[in-house]
Amino acid sequence: MTVGTKSAQDVNSLVQEVVGRHGATAEALVPILSDINQEFGYLPSETMAALSQTLRVPKSQLFSVASFYEMLSTKPRGRHVIQFCESAPCHVVGGRQVWQTLQDELGLETGETSEDGKWTLLTSSCLGICGVGPVIIVDDDIYGNVAPDGVPEILARYA
């Protein structure tokens, strides 16, 4: 969902609902941001403004916290987000070659989003599924034991 399709009122009521779910306490901040991020795919500045008012926390502090955590994004991402594990256990079983293929296929570097807004390519530290490395996650789909020549097939699954 993009923020464009929502009115300011909707954004506000969504923020209220998420805050209601977790409570307006300091320890709820990261869970609140996670939920909003989950809803939009990132943290639109409209939601940060609404949150700042509700929690009475300066926007700068919200951004400072949000920018710290990898699962939170202050920038819009592509329709599909690819996470590639670049840690050693995946690397030594062929991850290096898979990464090369992934970059070539997409023409993207780490952290970039394609011009058509389809893909965002991210590298990640261990994704916790190293038993089947090399590992790629596309959105919520996990691919293990990935070989370089399997990459185009994986990408072709996404519209």
Partner: protein, 547 residues
Amino acid sequence: MKPIRSLVLVSSDPESIGRGAQEVHRRLQRAIEAADLENEVVVSMVGDVGRHDALPMVIIYPEATIYGPVTPENVPFLVEEHLVERRIAAGLEASTRELSGRIAWLSARRGTLPAEQRIVLARAGLIDPENVEDYIVHDGYEALAKALTEMTPAEVINEIGKSGLKGRGGAGFPTGMKWRFVSQTDDYPKYIICNADESEPGTFKDRLILEGDPHSVIEAMAIAGYAVGANEGYIYIRGEYVLAQERLATAISQARQMGFLGETIFGSDFSFDIHIHAGAGAYICGEETALIESIEGKRGEPRSRPPYPTTHGLWGKPSVVNNVETIVNVPPIIQHGAAWYRRFGTSNSPGTKVYTILGNVNVTGLIEVPMGITLREVIAIYGKGMQDGASLKLAQTGGSSGSIVPASLQDTPLDFDSYARAGVSLGSGALLICNEDTCVVDLAKVSLNFFKRESCGKCTPCRVGTQRAYQILTAISEGVGTQQDLDDLQMLSENLTEFSHCGLGQTASVPIRDVFRHFRAEVDAHVQLKVCPAGACPMSGQLAKAA
């Protein structure tokens, strides 16, 4: 409780889910109902079964037959053959060659391997993790009952102290001593924090415990609370571990309903409750003071220590922080006693250790073995040998912050003391086994890349040091490294150890130090001869890209 004839378990790690495990589960339920067996057969999703070659897998007890990969279309045949006709569903069995080792924990196999012993993972994969009754049938909450009704808090701490249990989160700190520190302060409230942030590359042992046996974590935390005088607990769990979060939430609400959490537990005057706090993706939040900052809604930047969390933890109050694997050792110790626990492992490192075996071995996966087994044994017995008959070059133990251990140390017992004496560290329990095709410069580069990206940036030695070290290693791997680079690297490594604010920066120097210590000639070949003996580095002579 209903008499159950068969227990059907469906693997539901993320990969299995991706391959349709949920649909298999749904169809199993329907087929079992259709066969009128729902009163005799229990079907359950069990998380990661420790074996990943034929997912999704269906394991049926008591026979311990393993089927896989099972598709939704296979289900009617499987139910008809195995559960109705009571014979093996031919053609669906997972290959037996792979069976050895990966599912080292199957009850049918217990005791058949030389050093196999399960304490921490005794129930994982055997019980239905969403069913509290199943946990209770398997001795669940007995240790909590014993502690609350038969022991004083001091006796509980004594027993844990006598058991010799040491922290499994990386530092190996004695758990009994940590609890004693917290119990001795009279500042209230106190907190029990379970560290389930597990983000060390190559480590997924805690996830398996959380997904497979969530009640054991709850029971253990309640015992810890009773021992030190805390009434509230937090589980700080890695944000990506969604299934584990759901399992824990279910388990906590069940425990509340049954009165294992809440007020006056087991009729005592002890009350305890637990919150789940999910992280949002930051390795540094596994460091205990960063973790506490993160719960408090801040950036997860480590605090200066001392003071330690034992006196100034969450909200400035005394807090026990224990790793998942550490704390689930507690109920069995309370139930069977410290003397029983000391029968496993070595005298200085009693108990078992859970390891993940990864890299160039035939069988990867997860094992729980007594402390003191050697790397050679792990590779031969559980890894089923090196892939393609290659030879071992090195192992990286404990993820990026562990050590790079050369093959010459493969007979050193894997326990805290033997490893410390050999100048290496056990870390979190990941064993990355590498063959001769692995280049040490490349490995150090990948490890430094990890630290560079995970450095929280608060202190300069770590932020700049990891960046710079990564750049130099990249230059060396591209064949443009100089003698000066090597000297700089050496100095950077020393500075990281000495001046970094927290453990992240301090351990970032370890891969460099180990590579210099054990593989100096190979590094020199890159710089002086411009060759990568393992053939892994690009050596293209391009200028290193500033990262």
